[in-house]
Structures are given as C-alpha cells and as structure tokens.
Symmetry: C2
Subunit: 194 residues, 2 copies
C-alpha cells in the first residue's frame, strides 16, 4: 500500500477522488479495451481535473496497477481448510476474475506494452496469485489433510497456467467443471459419495 | 499463405521488399519492444517508402501477424515418430521461439491491444501451436506406440500452457530439463536405461 492522503484520511476527499477515478477507469476499460483508455478520458468520466490524474498516477498503466492492487484479494472466498475445496474455490474465483469484462483487460494491461511498468505489473500479478495459493497449501498443511498438499509450483503449472492460457486464447469450456477437473488431475479424484 | 506478388514471383522485387521489411521489423521489435515500433520506423530501417508499408500491411499488428505467419513452423524440428521425443523436441522448440528476443514480443503483440486483429492473431497463434502438436499425436498414433497419445487438450494444458505462463511471467528454471519434466508428468517417466 502507498501512504498517500487516501490512506491517511480514509473517507476524505482524496479517497473519494480515488474511488471515482477507479470506477471511471474500470468502466472505460470494459467499454473500450485498455488500449483505448487515456487519462483525460478517465478524468472526464470521473468529473475530476486531468492534471490531478497526471500528478497522482502519471500513466494509464500505473492507474490500472493501482486498481489491481487496491482491489487485491479482498473479495476472494475464505479458506475452509480442506485442500480440494480451497483449491477449487480459489481457482474458480481466479477464473471469474480473469473472465469478467475488465479482468482479462487488466491482465492484458499487465502483460502488454510499456517495459518497466509491465515488468512490475507482471511481478505483482504473479506475486498475488502465488500468495493466494500459498495460503491454500499452508492451511491444508496445518490442518494435516490426508493428502499432503502439492508444491506451489505444481499448482501454478497445473491449475493457474491452463486457466490463464485458456482465458487469453478464449478456449471454450473453461468453467467451474473444468476447474474441478484440473484440481482432480493434480490431487486425485474425490472419494465417491457413499 | 496469401497469394500476393511475393508468392507468385518468388525472388522478385516484392519478395525482396517483404524480406527486408520483415527483418527490419524483427530487429526493431527486439531493440525497442513491439509497442514502440511504427510503420515509418520499419520503412526507414528497411530502406523502403513508408507508403508501400501502409498499402501492403496497414498496421504494425498486421505486419507482425504476417511475419509470424510466414515464419510459421518452417524451422521446427522434424518428427521422428516417438511420442516422448517428439513432444520434447516440439516443446523445446516452442519454448525457444517464445523465449528469444522478438518471440515473446510477437506473442505479446498477439495477446495485447487492438481488438479484431488481436482476436485474429490469437486464433492464428493457437491454431499454429495446436497443429504442431496434433501432428505429434497423429504420428505417434500411426506408429502404434506402446503408450497411447494423450488428447491434444491435455498437451495444451500440461505442456504449452505452463510454458507460455512461465515465459510471460519470467519464471526462472524454464529450460529443456523443465520441458522434459512436463512431458514426463503427462506421459509418465521414461524407462530406466539398462
């Protein structure tokens, strides 16, 4: 988190401006695609002066990174302590994040142009998804599940990578049932109901 | 393949211009990143008039798509008819393509901005990689290998998706040994040497 006015005075003018700018940016990205959004357009939609956007964020990429950071994992489903359930829940949530309008646009903004900011964006993106699934694995380990959790690297390769790939390339059939298949492929089929 | 002059008169002026423009574009993308390349800059580097680039390709994205198409899989390693060897060879080649300067830039160009062309670029990118691995599976099937080949979908999920993900996110240790691990993860460990 940064320590600008919005953090120091929650609910203050600065926080209201930030919220208005964030939601204007999200709306414009959904409507036009990330590559067609400019800071002046965001400023106009948010009803604020574009000079304050240039001062505070500097570029659209930095603004999108700020949105991604602030959104964070706040609305991710809570962990229940069962490896399969948590992997499925977090993976379904990750898929939904990637799939909704704006979600993949943010991912694309992170993958695409603009050298240094892209590198930071990618690092942040990978860090977030890694943290989310590291918590799943740590929690399962603490609960002493029958199945020992796989290494994080395997979760990235076997669950996250296919989801990203399939969303980026719009491969059909990438849904909750498919997520459950990926999880079963990694940790085995669930026991049959009695 | 298109049917423009370069195809009708191989080695003609049009083909020479195309080759010069392609190599200028590849060099500029490597130096600056795909987002910093313009048609006039490519024209200048190639020593041709930029109006002919606008006429022939229209946009940088279309030019990059043409390069990707023309490059195609011409220099991919030949199939030997053994499932493991062919999966490993094609996957190592795919990884090298993605990893070299320009390679990931082209992938990024395909993933990133510009709506309709992006969609076409992604479709083409997925088609190419799918074709390459479909041939591997068909050849293994014809050779009647002991191990029946997995479905193409599994090859995409278990080998290609992790490679793309790891190159995009610059995850270290993504090398030939790692490719062999992915292949063994999918079709089983190779038999021990006697």
């Amino acid at each position: 988190m940064n320590t600008d006015a919005s953090t120091k005075r929650p609910g203050g003018r600065s926080a209201r401006v930030r919220a208005a700018v964030h939601s204007a940016a999200v709306a414009l990205v959904s409507e036009r695609g990330a590559d067609q959004v400019t800071l002046p357009a965001v400023a106009e939609r948010a009803g604020v002066n574009s000079s304050s956007l240039y001062r505070r964020w500097g570029t659209v990429a930095a603004l999108l990174a700020d949105i991604a950071k602030q959104r964070g994992d706040a609305d991710a489903p809570p962990l229940v302590g069962d490896l399969r359930t948590d992997l499925e829940n977090q993976a379904v949530w990750t898929l939904a994040e990637l799939s909704r309008p704006g979600g993949i646009a943010f991912f694309r903004a992170e993958v695409a142009p603009d050298v240094d900011e892209r590198r930071d964006g990618l690092r942040e993106c990978l860090r977030r998804v890694s943290e989310r699934f590291r918590s799943v694995l740590d929690t399962a380990r603490e609960h002493g599940d029958a199945t020992p959790p796989p290494p994080l690297e395997q979760v990235l390769d076997r669950i996250i990578a296919p989801l990203y790939f399939r969303v980026v390339f719009s491969i059909p059939g990438t849904d909750e049932a498919y997520v459950r298949e990926l999880v079963s492929g990694l940790i085995g089929e669930p026991p049959l109901e009695p």
